[in-house]
Symmetry: C2
Subunit: 244 residues, 2 copies
């Protein structure tokens, strides 16, 4: 499928997009240590949450000195960022088969978001931190920050594929902004999921099913001749106000 060929399953670990100073993992030894630290952190995060996990415990479990963790990860939050990057890879792997198979836009959107929720489920307890820090412009986890730019672009890129690979007729002007809008929509669903404590996240899935229907309906309606002016105005607004 051509439209998914731009999506990469390659992990960005090992040669991360670091900023000058922290150009780590250059030797085999260094790379191994980095992985050991990351692995320890992920296990501890999952088992006892982010706040309860101390950097000292991460270092101990990885078998290195405390200070060494700071050679490979700028801060505890960057360790979390590395986790999210891995989570995204898992999400991608889960979503790709569906994108290759299904061509109906509604099912593609629903499937990709459901895959995200499923992939995140083991980490529900501490995924709360995603949004805890997502709102802080200074945090590297903030979806608009420079440091998470790679992850964000990848995440939005997934919705590029969702749109590109569907057979639905979409007005040209809306088509350009739709992936971004779907990404925002998916963030909203995730935010709800974070707070959802219902059995099997039943409420989140009900929300998803109902709203995905509405969303697709709006996309369809926006193509009607009588609604062209309204649609153009909305698209213009999004282009204007969408963060750079």
């Amino acid at each position: 499928m051509i439209e998914t060929s731009s999506l990469s399953l390659q992990s960005t670990r090992g040669r991360p997009s670091t900023r000058g100073r922290l150009d780590t993992g250059r030797t085999a030894k260094g790379s191994q240590t980095r992985d050991r630290i990351l692995e320890s952190a992920l296990l501890l995060f999952r088992d006892q949450g982010y706040e309860q996990t101390t950097m000292r415990a991460v270092a101990r479990d990885a078998g290195v000195a405390l200070g060494n963790t700071y050679y490979y990860f700028e801060s505890k939050e960057h360790l979390l960022l590395a986790f999210y990057e891995r989570l995204h890879q898992e999400h991608l792997a889960a979503a790709l088969p569906l994108l290759d198979r299904e061509r109906d836009l509604k099912k593609r959107v629903r499937g990709v978001i459901a895959a995200k929720i499923d992939a995140s489920e083991p980490y529900h307890r501490f995924s709360q931190l995603l949004f805890k820090t997502a709102g802080d412009p200074r945090s590297p986890l903030n979806p608009f920050s420079r440091e998470s730019a790679v992850a964000r672009r990848q995440s939005i890129g997934l919705f590029d594929s969702v749109v590109a690979g569907s057979i639905k007729k979409i007005p040209e002007d809306l088509r350009g902004e739709l992936p971004y809008l779907l990404w925002l929509y998916h963030m909203g669903i995730v935010l709800y999921w974070i707070h959802d404590e219902s059995e099997e996240r039943a409420k989140t899935y009900r929300l998803l099913d109902t709203t995905v229907d509405l969303v697709i309906r709006v996309v369809t309606l926006s193509g009607l001749p009588g609604l062209g002016a309204l649609r153009r105005r909305a698209v213009a607004m999004i282009k204007d106000l969408r963060p750079a």
Copy 2:
């Protein structure tokens, strides 16, 4: 105006809705100390941000020992919560005249949200923390937590008045949920505002003007006979999925 009579301008300070153990401010002396601490904290927060403000600095400026701040405020975050309660009072004071004067729904919604942004402007730099912690279910600042229930109910209550005091015809079933929906909408605008660094927050105001138009249009359209089924389905979903 009857519909605003339930809104209170009384500050909740002095006799806060604390939980048993921390039933503070019972003597005149205690209450004074609490106010001194809060005042110091607000000044420091505003001038140098939340993270840069240390509890030791707060205590020093208030002229008390470090430990004493923890007698009146459970944590640094609770100090921030007290700040948001005060901010809400200022917002309320700014919004009330408009609600007494104006009866057009669109103008009421726009006015109340604009008032919120204006009231928050002096604290833009560290308001980022609102959403930083808003996503964390364990944080007292989380809009769905027990501790912020009072503030939240007040905040939604404001939109109760917005709806109740307008002359717009609104379908009965939607009318019940509309205040909550408008509150959610207003949270979205605030989230955008937090990240908005444009001159005079021009982008936020453009977003507000455009979306308020869309929102009201949807409310109007939802009353059309042909769209009753869709509206009922949407309202049912909201009732089902709205957090308790």
